[in-house]
Structures are given as C-alpha cells and as structure tokens.
C-alpha cells in the first residue's frame, strides 16, 4: 500500500531527479525557444547576453520562485490538515490565501504603489503583511467555527464562507485601482508567478529556510496532534499551545507563498496527500516529501501555464486548480 514506507530516501532522490528534469525542460520552453546547447552555454557563462538575460533574469527566478511557493504551500497545507485532523483543510479553499491577498492588495492600494514596481523594502514587507492577513483569517475562521470544540466540516464550511466574503472585499478594493493595476491584481490573485524577479525570491526564501525545518523539527508533536487531542494530552503535551504555534507557522508559510505567488489553491491539498500515500503518516518522513512534491507540482504547473496557450500565459493558479479540484472532489466523495 504505502510504496516507499521503508525507503523514503529513494523516493526523495527520485523526486529530486524529477525536479531537475522538469527544471531543465522548463528552462528550454517558452515563447522564445532556446536550444539545449544555448541554454547549456548560458549556464556556463558562455552564452550571448540576450540568452543570459532570458535565462537568468526571466526564467530562472520564476522557476526558483515557483518551487519555493510550491514547497511553502505544501508544508502549510500539511500542517493545517494535521492540526485540524481534517484531510480537506485546504488553505486556498478556506480563505487563508484570500486573507493574505487582502492584506497585500490593501497595502498596495494604501501606499498608492503599482504592483509590478513593488521594490526595495516593500518586497520584504509583503510576506510580513501577507502573514498578518493569513493569521488573522485563520484566527477568525477558528473563532467562528468554535462551538464547544471545532468539528472538521464546520471549520471548512466556515472557511468557505470566509473565502466568499474576502473575495468580495478584494473585488471592491480592486475596483478602486487604476485599470492597469486592476488587471495586474486580478492575474496576481488568480495565482501567478508572472512578474517574478530575484527580489521576490530573496524575500521569500528566508521564511522557508527557517520555517520548513522548524515544522519538520516539530514532527513529533504533529504526529501526536494528528492522532487526537485526548491522546496528545495523555502524553503530556500542551495541546492548545502547540497547536497555536504550528498554526502560526502554517499561516506564515502561507503568507510568504501568497505574497510571492498569489492565491494558488489546492497545492496545499494535493502535495501532502500524495506524500502521505507514498511514505505514510509519520511527519518526519512525509513533510520533506510533501515539500518536494509541492515544488515539483508548481514547477510543472508553471511550465504548463507558460506554454499551453502560447503566446498568452495562464495564471499558474488556474493550472493547479484544474489538477487539484478534481482530487479534492474525490477526497470529498470518500469522506464520511
């Protein structure tokens, strides 16, 4: 049943190879085609300046960013699912992404900035704001869903309602923007790694490098929380405190990812599920695998998004939704 239960390292190796393969393939695809030879030369620093520009300033940051976003969303989704003991807790569906989005759009709106010209300090502000939006939304959802405890389905249903409200708020905000910004915001909110540059990568990477290892370090608690509150208390864990800590970690990861990639739904659902199927429910193993699968998923989805309707580009969130939504429905059908 669980294919790689005994050998997570082999699976990790396989995934890394797959990521590399997609990475190379993705480097070579796009509106402007580069031959593998040109790509290779450019990578070695011997290509033409035009090729280098395309590779290093347009494609590379975008691909690196999509991997970061994928890994971040995957871990965030895994944590949400474990601490709520709910397989369907998808940050995008329950409004966490929208909360982060509202914070970012509000910031851009209030400072009168233009989305694509967010630069300098603001780039580093964005993940922080998105984090605040995400954590606030998560808190509100928890609050509204709380009625002598939180049942999994009520939590999601409340989240769906929250998502609807926040989306409406977003529409109202967007409308107060200039036409040009309006379109940008729209594409961004649908989930896009459209205007990626190294600035975004540097603003997101530190969050991931700190939070993902921290989450993996907390695996033991996640394992126990996943089993149930009673068991966790029996084992002497301060359940509410650990849950709050982990909730903050998950919201921070979501915030960082959304600030860079926009509202990408269902990535946080698919990756952890597939990972759990492959290596079993122990978080030590399945968190790193989820991160890898998330990175692979987004990298692949971004390649599809760039190429499927060339020369126009799809927001990557749409591609991920088309993969993830059917999977969610499948899980929904199976749940009792």
């Amino acid at each position: 049943m669980i294919l790689f239960k005994k050998s997570p390292w082999i699976l990790a190796g396989l995934l890394v190879i797959l990521i590399l393969a997609v990475f190379v393939a993705s480097l070579n695809t796009g509106v402007i085609r580069l031959s593998p030879m040109n790509t290779f030369n450019a990578l070695l620093g011997k290509g033409s300046s035009e090729n280098e520009l395309i590779l290093f300033d347009f494609r590379m940051p975008r691909m690196v960013l999509s991997m970061c976003v994928g890994a971040g969303l995957a871990i965030a989704g895994a944590i949400f699912q474990s601490i709520t003991r709910n397989d369907l807790a998808e940050p995008g569906l329950i409004g966490i992404n929208a909360g982060a989005g509202v914070a970012v759009v509000l910031f851009i709106f209030l400072t009168g900035g233009v989305l694509e010209e967010v630069s300098g300090l603001s780039v580093f502000m964005l993940p922080l704001l998105a984090f605040l939006g995400a954590i606030l939304t998560a808190g509100l959802i928890y609050l509204f869903a709380w009625k002598n405890g939180v049942t999994p389905l009520r939590l999601i249903l409340v989240g769906v309602a929250m998502q609807a409200i926040l989306s409406a708020v977003l529409i109202v905000l967007q409308l107060s923007m200039e036409d040009r910004d309006f379109n940008k915001a729209l594409v961004w909110l649908m989930g896009s790694i459209y205007s990626a540059n190294w600035g975004y990568v540097w603003s997101v990477l530190p969050w991931l490098l700190i939070l993902i290892p921290f989450a993996i370090y907390k695996s033991r608690y996640l394992n126990i929380l996943h089993v149930g509150d009673a068991a966790a208390m029996g084992l002497g864990i301060n359940v509410e405190r650990e849950r709050k800590k982990l909730l903050i970690v998950a919201a921070a990861l979501t915030g960082a990812s959304v600030s860079a990639g926009g509202g990408i739904a269902f990535a946080g659902l698919v990756a952890p599920h597939v990972a759990r199927r492959l290596v079993g429910p122990k978080h030590e193993r399945f968190l790193p695998i989820s991160a890898l699968i998330g990175a692979l998923l987004l990298l692949f989805a971004d390649m599809i998004a760039r190429t499927i309707l060339m020369p126009s580009e799809l927001p990557v969130g749409i591609v991920v939704s088309c993969i993830g939504a059917p999977y969610f429905l499948y899980l929904l059908m199976k749940s009792k």
Partner: protein, 334 residues
C-alpha cells in the same frame, strides 16, 4: 416566530409598495440625480431632446426593472431549492449553478460571438444544468450521500474549477474584461430587449412555481411524508429543478453572478412568513426584488463615479449570513 404569518395579503401589498418605492429611488438616484417630477414627465410627456428623459427611459428604468426581476427570480430559485432538497444551504450560487451558467457564457463569448440575448439565455441555462449536474453527481457518488455540508463543499470546489476554466478561456481569447463583468455581477447597461425576455421567459416559469408550491410544501416535509400523501415526488422534483435552472440561467445571462440572494432571502422570508410555500415563493420573490434593487443603489453610491460590482455587494451582505448558517449547520452534521 413568524411575524407576518397573519394577514399575509396585507403584508404582500405592503412589500409590493416597498418594492415600488425602492425602484423609484433607483430611477432617481445615480451619477445624475433626477427629480421625481422629471421621471413622471419622461413617462407621460416624453421629450426626445431632454437627456434626462433619455437616461430615464433607456438606462434607469430597464435597470431598475431588471434588478427587481432578477432578485425575485434568484430568491425564488433559492426558496424552491431549499424546499426541494431540504438543505438550508441551498442556493444557486453555492450549488455551482450560477458559475456553470457563467461558464456557459464564457464559452459563448468565444465561439458564439454574435449570440443574441435569447441565445445567451439558452447557453446560460445549459451551463446552469451542467454545473448543477456536476455538483449533484459528486454528491450522489459520495459515501454517506448528499449531506448539506458536502453539497456546499462540492459546490464551492466546482465553482472554483469552473471559474478557473472560464478565466483560462477568457485570457486566451482576450475577453477577460467582458467575462469579469459576468463574474462580478451587475445590472448596469441592461437593455429593454433583455428586460422583455426576462419577463417573457421568467413570467410563465414564475406562475409554474406558484402552481407547484403546494406540492413543494408537502415535499419539504420529507420524501416519505410526501409519498405517503400520494404525491408524485419525482414529477414534482423534476419540475422544481427545471424552474430553478431556468430562473438562475436567465438571471445570470443578464446580470452575471449575484451570489447569496437565493440563500439569504428564503431564510429571512421563512422566519417571517412560516413554511407554507404558496406564500413563501411569492414573498421571497418580493423580498429578493427589494434586496437587489437596494443593493444596486448601493453599488452606485459607494464609490461614485465607479460602479461597485453588484455581486460583490450581495456577497458582502449574504456572506456573513452564510457564515452564521455554516456555524449552525456544521454542528448538526457531525
């Protein structure tokens, strides 16, 4: 409890007057405020040279009527849906019906560019049926059957999927702006032609709804009860589904997605009127009409000269209500 359950004809008349007042306000208020006497003149002493008269006749009046009709239709569709499925979260926008209709329109925009209003309504109806069948298909295939919460979640997922697909289509064919308009929802720029179609198609269906309302009351008590009383349950259900799809389909084809009208109005109406669907459908229609006309006025007033999308306003009104229901219903299921 049901405050208005006595003297229903009186309250119906009062609601009708409230609706007329709201529509009059809707005609007078806007980018250019127009006095009531000018409105009267434009109706009875029309002067082609007067721009105000033109605005009233060609812009404001069709808009007010369309808002009222669509509000009534959506609220009725929601009422019938909640009665038929006995699902308190029943609403065309939650159940994937409106986004299915909008998906149909997105397709029509690309491959049927010359479509007339009537054709758009047809496409929208087919799309509505498509969205609904997806959601109910998922519900029917799932272990444990069609619980309200599952239907709502399946609806939300399928809506987001259909919206994603529509966006993909719209981006590729460069019609994103037009399609956004449909997803944001608005009765801005409604033509007389569309109002006439809304009346011609929706009117008979509305009467059909009133005719079936007695059976619906019985059905809302549960399928066993309904069968025990000798009702042809299947037939009633098919008629109900047809009514829901037509009413939501034509509404979306004119005004786009106006979420939560079909959720909030039936609940309020039921708490005021009681559970007799003969009156419930009528009152829902009236209250839905009033709500949308008022929301449309708000859409124009919030950020002049911009128009806030009507769909955003109905969501801001209905969303918190959904939150409240989610909190209540989620507890019952588990």
């Amino acid at each position: 409890m049901a405050m208005l359950s006595k003297r229903k004809p009186f309250w119906a008349t009062m609601s009708f007057f409230a609706l007329v007042t709201a529509m009059a306000a809707s005609i007078c208020l806007g980018a250019a405020d127009i006095s009531l006497s000018t409105v009267k003149d434009s109706l009875f002493a029309f002067n082609t040279a007067d721009t105000n008269h033109q605005i009233i006749r060609e812009v404001r009046i069709p808009r007010a009527i369309a808002g009222a009709l669509i509000g009534a239709y959506l609220a009725m569709a929601g009422t019938i849906m909640q009665g038929m499925t006995r699902n308190p979260l029943g609403d065309p926008s939650i159940m994937g019906i409106t986004s299915g209709a909008a998906f149909g329109i997105a397709i029509a925009f690309v491959w049927l560019q010359e479509a007339t209003s009537l054709q758009l309504m047809m496409v929208s109806f087919i799309g509505a049926a498509f969205g609904a069948s997806l959601v109910f298909g998922v519900g029917a295939l799932s272990i444990g059957g069609l619980t309200p919460v599952k239907l709502a979640l399946a609806g939300a997922t399928i809506s987001s999927l259909l919206i994603s697909l529509s966006t993909a289509i719209s981006i590729h064919f460069n019609v994103a702006k037009q399609i956004d308009f449909w997803f944001a929802g608005s009765v801005n720029g409604v033509q007389w032609m569309e109002v006439v179609l809304l009346l011609l198609i929706g009117g008979p269906v509305f009467i059909l709804g009133l005719l079936i309302s007695k059976s619906l009351t019985v059905l809302s008590l549960g399928e066993e009860v309904s069968k025990g009383l000798g009702q042809r349950t299947k037939f009633v259900k098919i008629v109900c589904v047809f009514i829901i799809l037509v009413l939501s389909g034509i509404s979306v084809s004119v005004a786009g997605v106006l979420a939560f009208i079909g959720l909030i109005v039936p609940h309020i109406t039921r708490s005021l009127i009681g559970i007799d669907y003969r009156w419930l459908i009528l009152f829902s229609g009236l209250f839905g009409a009033i709500l949308v006309v008022l929301a449309d006025i708000a859409a124009r007033m919030i950020q002049p000269p911009f128009e806030t999308p009507l769909g955003a306003i109905t969501t801001l009104i209905g969303g918190p209500f959904f939150l409240y229901l989610a909190r209540r219903e989620g507890g019952k299921i588990l």
